[in-house]
């Protein structure tokens, strides 16, 4: 906020701009930009036939479809579960609230491989949850629905942590005045709360989705990795690398990056819209 006061042609009093800026740009280039550019160079450097051949093979297309659809389903589920959790944590007081609030971040902190073996074991036909599903002839292991379970876990904190501060800022008086003007609970929720929370919710969903399509560690254990059925796009990159097919791996990665970055740019738009909504 102080920044705006100082904008303009103010002389720099503080030292170290050249040094800190120089090091920032150098380190950013060395660790992030130069390494990332290899994908672009590799994708544009290869024969177009190789590139399009790699990304349009039925097995790769199936993996894109799977990654996008499971990540989308999971992020929509997270929207509901995350909204519910954020609402409960902010508005209600109950025993264990602080512990739940802290544990929302567990999926950020828990290594993905550990999450992966946990869900694979929980939902195996003899697992704690899988045995009940087995009785009704339902199975999540080696199925796209198992992938969705893992991605719900991974994306959950993104929704809670973007929606939670917005609910906290929301004055209960707004709802009360709506209700005193004769709106019922459902109308208040739909006409007052949802429009207000929607930008934040959309941000959370986008973040969860973007994370979901790239996720690897938590998915591969429960997915079973059957070609055409439960092979996610990041696994296709891994498979091509194992076969030393560097061109194929780069082509698949290039498209995946393109999807992620498009999501990020869209998200940027959403955030601007969100800021506008608050002015």
């Amino acid at each position: 906020m102080n920044m705006t006061l100082f904008k303009g042609k103010q002389r720099k009093i503080l030292p170290g701009f050249g040094l800190s800026m120089g090091y920032t740009v150098f380190y950013l280039s060395a660790i992030v930009l130069v390494p990332l550019s290899t994908i672009v160079i590799s994708a544009f450097g290869m024969n177009p036939e190789t590139f399009f051949g790699a990304i349009s093979s039925p097995r790769v297309l199936a993996s894109y479809r799977l990654s996008v659809s499971t990540a989308l389903l999971a992020s929509l589920f997270d929207a509901v579960a995350g909204f519910l959790t954020a609402w409960t944590l902010v508005r209600y007081r109950f025993p264990g609230r602080r512990i739940l609030d802290a544990l929302v971040d567990l999926p950020f902190a828990l290594p993905t491989a550990v999450a992966g073996i946990c869900f694979a074991t929980l939902y195996s036909p003899v697992g704690w949850l899988g045995q009940f599903l087995a009785k009704i002839n339902m199975e999540l292991i080696n199925k796209p629905s198992g992938i969705v379970i893992a991605l719900i876990f991974i994306g959950f904190p993104f929704v809670v942590r973007t929606v939670q501060p917005v609910i906290a800022e929301l004055e209960p008086e707004i709802e009360e005045s709506a209700q005193s003007l004769g709106a019922n609970r459902w109308q208040t929720f739909r006409k007052i709360l949802l429009p207000h929370l929607f930008p934040a919710l959309l941000t959370g969903i986008t973040l969860a989705f973007a994370r979901g399509i790239g996720e690897y560690g938590s998915v591969i254990f429960i997915a079973g990795n059957l070609p055409f059925k439960t092979e996610i796009a990041p696994l296709m990159i891994m498979t091509k690398l194992d076969q030393f097919d560097y061109n194929g791996a780069s082509a698949v990665a290039f498209v995946l990056l393109l999807i992620s970055f498009t999501m990020l740019i869209l998200l940027n738009g959403v955030q601007r819209w969100q800021q506008k909504a608050y002015q």
């Binding site: 906020m1 100082f6 720099k12 800190s20 920032t24 007081r93 550990v114 560097y246």
Partner: protein
């Protein structure tokens, strides 16, 4: 926050809500149900599986030489990665929060790039850059330097993956603190480093600590990126998460969950410290 306690419709102790009690109870129950399935059960499962065949086997699994080698490599990696990214985070936050310049928004979004990249791709880019089949990689190989399938590869891939954590914590914090204090000190004749050490560092220490904790947690737990560049050589290029995977794929579930329990313990510690730091920051405001 506490204004709600004065409200007459106190529902469940101190809730700042006028939702009917039935609705409150239902939503709280649903939240607990979600947590039961997605948070509590996985946590309980790790320890139940790890201790399934007794404490002795549990201890043997985490004391076995390959497990210890994995722990060692993981700690070495974190010991290199965390200080490097912390220094970078402080430097970048200084440049971004204390000065105005063109292209700031772009720079800030570039810092977040690694979060948008799949871990597998984070590994792939370093294989493309310095793998033995690339010109640069083969040149390095001729000079006896091996990066991919060896420790340096694990370190750079982890550097990439954990790159934004510290900077991301510090930039908003330092922007909100402004630069009056530092400018006053300079005007009074303090030197650059003195200003940083005596004024800036104490102001940002909690944010810095929290960023470094997140960075440590992720560098210990990173799986996808490290999996691509490691080559999975036991006792050589195996980190703790990779060791968990190997044991699991060999159907050695007890040992796998035993080693995983170390990671769960670390994750819970991270989450707890986060809570403590946030509380501290909140109280200071």
């Amino acid at each position: 926050m506490q204004t709600s306690t004065t409200r007459q419709t106190a529902t469940i102790t101190g809730s700042r809500s006028k939702d009917p009690i039935a609705v409150q109870l239902l939503l709280i129950a649903l939240t607990f149900l979600f947590f039961a399935g997605f948070i509590f059960m996985p946590l309980a499962l790790v320890f139940s599986q790890a201790l399934q065949k007794g404490v002795q086997l549990y201890l043997d699994s985490i004391r076995e030489p390959y497990a210890l080698e994995a722990v060692k490599l993981t700690l070495i990696t974190a010991a290199i990665v965390v200080p490097l990214n912390a220094v970078f985070g402080v430097t970048a936050a200084w440049a971004i929060s204390k000065f105005s310049f063109k292209g700031k928004t772009l720079l800030v979004s570039l810092l977040d790039l690694p979060f948008a990249v799949s871990p597998v791709i984070a590994g792939l880019i370093f294989v493309l850059l310095v793998g033995s089949r690339t010109p640069f990689g083969s040149w390095l190989g001729e000079h006896g330097i091996k990066i991919i399938f060896s420790t340096p590869g694990i370190v750079i891939a982890t550097l990439f993956v954990t790159f934004p954590f510290v900077a991301r914590e510090l930039i908003p914090l330092m922007e909100s603190q402004g630069r009056e204090e530092e400018e006053a000190a300079i005007t009074l004749g303090a030197r650059g480093w003195q200003v940083f050490r005596i004024i800036t560092l104490p102001n940002i220490r909690w944010g810095l600590m929290y960023g470094m904790i997140l960075c440590t947690a992720r560098s210990i737990g990173e799986f996808g990126a490290v999996s691509v560049v490691s080559g999975h050589i036991r006792g050589m290029t195996n980190t703790i998460p990779l060791h968990v995977e190997i044991l699991y794929s060999e159907y050695n579930y007890t040992a796998s969950f035993a080693v995983a329990s170390i990671l769960v313990f670390l994750a819970l510690t991270t989450v707890a410290i986060k809570g403590a730091v946030e509380k501290h920051v909140h109280n200071n405001q």
